[in-house]
């Protein structure tokens, strides 16, 4: 441009500096870096994208989309992304975005529940959620089958994800048990009740319990579980004995378990084994009824006070229990009877000198023995166990002079002859009292008769009495004469009879 030099002579000329230029502008590095960063972020985000699951809750109380976390052992494993009402308007369906690590435990038996403050018995849990807000707890499942749709539990399955085993306990009544009720092993807290439900038949309850490791290894197929609720007070010759599992079990109930000591301990029971829940320790360790025998007792009197489960006693020792009571009307005689079924455990009483003769089995031997006993007067009677409650028990004993009876072995169950009348101990006592009274009256009578005999006319005593009285009269007369004389001659006391002296 040489022309501008002429046009603008006053404009100074710039200094010349050599400069190298590159073909490729470095500025393009910037968008490449930005794009790389963006792609990297996107890739990590996609890689961190975990599975999405749906959880059905009964209520959305305390749950918030994008806020409520899914928490496993204190670690966030997901977040609720949306909450909506189910089509049936009864439930709430929450969608949760889980972290990729959670993929492994999203299996069929994984359980979810809302963690919130709870009080069951003396167990208080979830207090932290008062400040932090509710979150969703997870219990890992063992199944291998993957699952994306879950139904939340209404209550946490049990505290924490700890090692241990679940067992089922069968019980006719729940008592003071509830979810979270502690389980004791040698008075150590070893687990808790997880849940309970009525059996399909409605006859008993299935209580699901969890026994923590290492206590679960002490549960063998022979282990006895019993209700350890409250205090066991025993007043014996040794004094007052109080037994309880813990203060907590007094207030909230509890279950204890123990395995009877044997020479060859059984291996630990498998998980989900079913046990019977006994009402107390004594019951739990009572030998199981072995070949129980049932008998029918027909009472022609009121059985008021007799309940199912009432003891059957022989000489004061319980050998069985009442299993059924149901009144019956005999349509022919129009008489009400009360057949009572009892179950007797032959193992509870020992038999001396019992040996089966050759060619006869034990059943026929037993029948023979029973026949012989009944012919000797073995009768069932109702007796009062407690004067206060009026509870009755069945006493089976040999009664002397009982009306003759026999057993009809063709019936099932066999009817055992009963004795009515003296139904209770009080009446017995009154009868014996009356008998004694009668004796006393008789004695008194005899005494009076003897007395009468003594004072009969012409008896020796009578004669002696008469002469005694006569002599008494004479004596009285002499005293009177003396008194008269002394009145007239008082000096005679000193001088004697003067007249006679003259």
């Amino acid at each position: 441009m040489p022309d501008n030099e002429k046009s603008f002579p006053q404009v100074p000329e710039a200094k010349t500096v050599a400069k190298k230029r590159t073909r490729f502008s470095l500025v393009w590095v910037i968008p490449i870096v930005a794009a790389a960063a963006g792609v990297w972020i996107a890739v990590t985000k996609i890689l961190n994208e975990g599975p999405t699951i749906t959880i059905v809750f009964s209520s959305a109380d305390g749950l918030e989309a994008n806020k409520t976390k899914v928490n496993y052992n204190g670690l966030d494993v997901g977040t609720l992304t949306s909450i909506r009402l189910a089509d049936d308007h009864q439930h709430v369906i929450a969608t949760a975005a889980m972290s990729p690590k959670a993929k492994d435990f999203l299996v069929k038996d994984t359980r979810f529940w809302v963690v919130k403050p709870r009080m069951s018995g003396l167990n208080v849990s979830g207090l932290g959620t008062l400040i932090s807000g509710y979150y969703i707890g997870v219990q890992l499942g063992q199944s291998k089958e993957s699952e994306r749709h879950f139904i939340a539990l209404d209550a946490p399955p049990f505290a924490g994800n700890v090692a241990g085993k679940f067992f089922m306990l069968k019980t006719p009544e729940l008592g003071s048990l509830g979810e979270g009720t502690p389980i004791f092993f040698r008075q150590l807290s070893a687990g808790q009740v997880v849940s309970y439900e009525l059996d399909k038949g409605g006859e008993f309850l299935n209580v699901k319990v969890f026994v923590r490791a290492p206590y679960d290894q002490y549960v063998s197929p022979d282990t006895r579980f019993w209700q350890a609720s409250g205090i066991d007070l025993t007043l014996s010759a040794n004094g007052l004995h109080v037994q309880t599992e813990s203060v907590m079990s007094i207030l909230a109930g509890g279950i204890a378990f123990e395995t009877p000591a044997t020479d060859s301990p059984l291996p630990p029971a498998a998980a989900d084994t079913t046990f019977t829940l006994f009402s107390d320790r004594t019951d739990a360790f009572a030998p199981p009824p072995h070949d129980p025998q049932t008998y029918l007792l027909v009472f022609k009197q009121s059985v008021r006070g007799l309940t199912v489960g009432a003891p059957v006693q022989l000489g004061g020792i319980t050998i069985g229990e009442v299993t059924q009571i149901s009144p019956q009307l005999d349509a022919q005689t129009m008489a009400f009877t009360v057949p009572v079924t009892i179950s007797v455990d032959p193992q509870r009483y020992g038999v001396k000198f019992m040996n089966a003769p050759e060619g006869e089995d034990m059943i026929t031997v037993r029948k023979k023995i029973m026949d012989s006993l009944v012919s000797r007067g073995l009768r069932a009677q109702l007796k009062t166990g407690s004067l206060i409650s009026g509870a009755l028990y069945v006493s089976v004993d040999v009664v002397p002079n009982a009306p003759p009876a026999s057993l009809d072995w063709s019936q099932d169950p066999v009817e055992l002859p009963t004795l009515s009348g003296k139904i209770d101990a009080l009446e017995d006592n009154v009868a014996s009292l009356l008998k004694n009274l009668n004796q006393t009256v008789t004695n008194a009578d005899m005494l009076l008769g003897n007395a009468n005999q003594l004072i009969e006319p012409n008896s020796v005593l009578d004669m002696e009495l008469s002469s005694l009285l006569l002599q008494g009269g004479d004596a009285a007369r002499s005293v009177r004469l003396l008194a008269d004389y002394l009145e007239r001659h008082p000096e005679a006391l000193i001088r004697g009879k003067t007249g006679e002296a003259k």
Partner: protein
């Protein structure tokens, strides 16, 4: 309007970007230094359109994660909660807080995107040698230049919040990855504005008019 006004470049002159001194390049040379203030002299900003475009593409790329990723993470004892800019707008939207919500919406979402679109428009019109609406395009450029820096307010507010709210056991606020991308968008658009030479708008217009004259000379 003044499309016919001759430019300094057409006259073979350079103006100093720092002190405004008009100078003539040394014979045979295109670049040089200002004889008064020693500033580097060029006829036009070097590779202006190329650089602007590069910055714009980078800004546009960063704009996506800036809006998708959370900018702030609030950690409370109950867990952490992350919010993106758009979630913040939704959160602020209430009968009383809607003006604030609108400010955030404009300053943080509309303006950065509008800046990118406006500059792209300028780059492509200059490239294609358009001579229409020259005055309006320059005004658009000035507006972008003035308004652009205000988007940085968002980043400042967030960094202040993060440094102030550190009540460790109870609550703390941490910057999210979106914040870095958002700051990158603001910085990159400012760089794009900086590297764009508005004089290019007039070059095509004047070259169409004056170029034959120069060639003739």
């Amino acid at each position: 309007m003044s499309a016919m006004t001759p430019t300094a470049m057409q006259q073979g002159l350079q103006s100093c970007p720092a002190c405004g001194l008009l100078s003539r390049p040394a014979p045979g040379a295109h670049e040089g230094r200002c004889p008064r203030c020693d500033e580097e002299l060029v006829f036009r900003k070097p590779a202006s359109l190329e650089r602007t475009l590069a910055y714009l593409i980078a800004a546009a790329v960063c704009y996506i994660p800036a809006n998708v990723l959370p900018v702030l993470t609030t950690v409370t004892s109950g867990g952490s909660e992350s919010d993106t800019i758009l979630q913040g707008v939704v959160l602020l939207w209430s009968p009383t807080g809607w003006p604030l919500s609108l400010i955030v919406l404009f300053a943080s979402i509309m303006i950065p995107s509008a800046k990118i679109v406006a500059l792209l428009y300028l780059v492509f019109t200059v490239r294609s040698g358009s001579i229409k609406n020259n005055g309006q395009r320059v005004r658009l450029y000035r507006m972008v230049e003035i308004i652009g820096r205000w988007s940085m307010v968002d980043v400042f507010v967030d960094t202040f919040t993060v440094s102030l709210i550190q009540l460790q056991p109870l609550m703390s606020v941490e910057p999210g990855p979106g914040l870095f991308f958002f700051a990158a968008v603001v910085v990159l658009t400012m760089l794009a504005v900086e590297s764009f030479d508005p004089r290019l708008i007039w070059d095509s217009a004047s070259s169409k008019e004056i170029q034959p004259e120069v060639q003739h000379a």
